[in-house]
Amino acid sequence: MFPMSVQELEKIFLNKIEQEVKIEPKDWMPDAYRKTLIRQISQHAHSEIVGMLPEGNWISRAPSLKRKAILLAKVQDEAGHGLYLYSAAETLGTTREQTILDLHSGKAKYSSIFNYPTLTWGDIGAIGWLVDGAAILNQVMLCRTSYGPYARAMVRICKEESFHQRQGFDILMALSKGSPEQREMCQDAINRWWWPSLMMFGPHDGESTHSEQSTLWKIKRMSNDELRQKFVDMIAEQVKVLNMTLPDDKLKWNETTKHYDFGEINWTEFWNVVKGNGPCNKQRLDARRKAWDEGAWVREAASAHAAKRKMREEKKIA
């Protein structure tokens, strides 16, 4: 068989996209598609891993054994999600180690939301409800993304995430029914996490760098603003169940659009945190680098031992 030209390959590729056939690791794909996916999947993986830190901060202080177990399991799930995603990224020809080093050098990004501190137990509830809630909308969309391994990882992740969101809501529910201090803790956490959660959907559609091409390739299947609106509509209803409010006096049901109107995001803060100036950017990266560096001897020992063992087994056979 004659090798196909790039034009022909690209046609097949776009045809698959068109026909909703998943792209698989061994399929030909445009370099830019591959690069975009590597960037996005590893960014997503890093978000899971860095995202362990703000919640991990409260494991030792969880206020009941049941909550401690739930939180620990949740943070562990995030590690698992990180694993799925690093594996998905590896199918595109990168290595987990390189991906991690890119995070540590600051070359790769992760979701800015994790650069905010968790200051009270209420924050653990707010993260579950708002942050996971925002993440899920994005992830549900990604279950239908065009790259097979990514889509399949997302299906597994989505199942667990909706569980997490419910647990977060449940924490806030308990606070909202509790003492005045607990109710205050609940409202305070919502106040601090609301706007950063809205920022998770990224810049307005007009200003989003990678959006257009990603939409064409069906990596992305809804726009930032569409997803954000969906999120606002959902949360604005749920917050009533908590008897709490969202910190936005422009928030109002619009009978014409059948959506909630809401106030403008502070984009200066958004870009500032993306640039590395969030309250915890340095702390988060330092923590990850420290874990990695201090774990170096462990990883070396494990591979040294594996090599020794292999050599011994080969000797036995010979």
């Binding site: 562990q76 694993l83 924490i171 029914k177 990883r299």
Partner: protein, 263 residues
């Protein structure tokens, strides 16, 4: 009998909880993602065991003290969060700091190996609740022993650095192993009452397993190598190291700050 059973159960619960608390400090900071998950898993298993045991202890406590006027109803959380250090009955080994990975691994290996033989026997306890908890937990503990054994072998037979770190950990932790096999008063009573395990009888089994794994790790036996090393004790009777106070200050801070709340 009930007070012995109560103390005996609490002691088992405290061991599980404090080690779970220590291990959970690794969550998000492990040397490899897979191992971060593994140590967290062990932590989760131990919290699960602790909860079953505390729930049972709470039940016992409510029966014992129910007549006392105004005594608050015990729950798994009052037992975990509202007892002070002097009332905690965990052995000293589990409260020792995580240190490096070698320290954590060796602590787990020493403890889980003992817990394995203990739960194995506890399955035949005259107390059916304890027997059931032991039976349910044994599968988990079997995995903890295997996982930590593999890591002891890996570190002992890995690089020079990992070997040295493991030997340092041995130096630090060995003096805390003896306590596991020296029965506290309530343990002796529990044996006599038919529901407790004779920890002295477990010791040779534990030593044999430790010797086997150390041999596989190309290390000499810590048992023959450490004759005359003094063994620390006191934890089971509430006389701890200075570590425990700080663990509890942090762990209990929310319950202490907001008393009587539901979470």
């Amino acid at each position: 009998m009930n007070e012995t059973l109560y103390n005996y159960t609490l002691h088992l619960a405290d061991n599980a909880l404090i080690l779970a608390q220590r291990n959970s400090e690794w969550c998000g900071h492990g040397p490899v993602l897979e191992q971060d998950i593994a140590i967290t898993n062990i932590s989760l298993d131990l919290i699960g065991q602790a909860r079953s045991l505390y729930q049972y202890a709470a039940e016992l406590s409510n029966n014992i003290f129910s007549s006392t006027t105004g005594a608050r109803t015990a729950t798994e959380d009052t037992l975990a969060y509202l007892r002070e250090g002097r009332a905690y009955k965990n052995c000293l080994l589990v409260e020792q700091p995580n240190g490096d990975w070698a320290q954590t691994i060796l602590r787990q290996f020493f403890f889980s190996t003992c817990q394995f033989f203990l739960y194995q026997r506890l399955q035949r306890s005259a107390d059916s609740t304890l027997a059931a908890i032991a039976e349910k937990s044994l599968k988990e503990v079997t995995y903890h022993v295997r996982w930590s054994s593999e890591w002891v072998i890996r570190l002992g037979d890995g690089t020079e650095e990992s070997r040295n770190r493991l030997l340092n950990a041995l130096d630090d932790l060995w003096p805390f192993t003896g306590e596991m096999f020296t029965p506290a008063g309530y343990e002796t009573d529990a044996v006599n009452l038919g529901f407790g395990v004779d920890v002295k009888a477990i010791k040779p089994l534990w030593e044999q397993r430790v010797n086997e794994i150390f041999a596989e790790a190309t290390l000499s036996s810590p048992i023959t190598g450490s004759e005359g090393v003094w063994m620390q004790s006191g934890g089971k009777e509430g006389v701890h190291t200075e570590q425990l106070g700080f663990i509890l200050a942090e762990m209990q801070s929310m319950q202490r700050t907001f008393p009587g709340c539901e979470w």
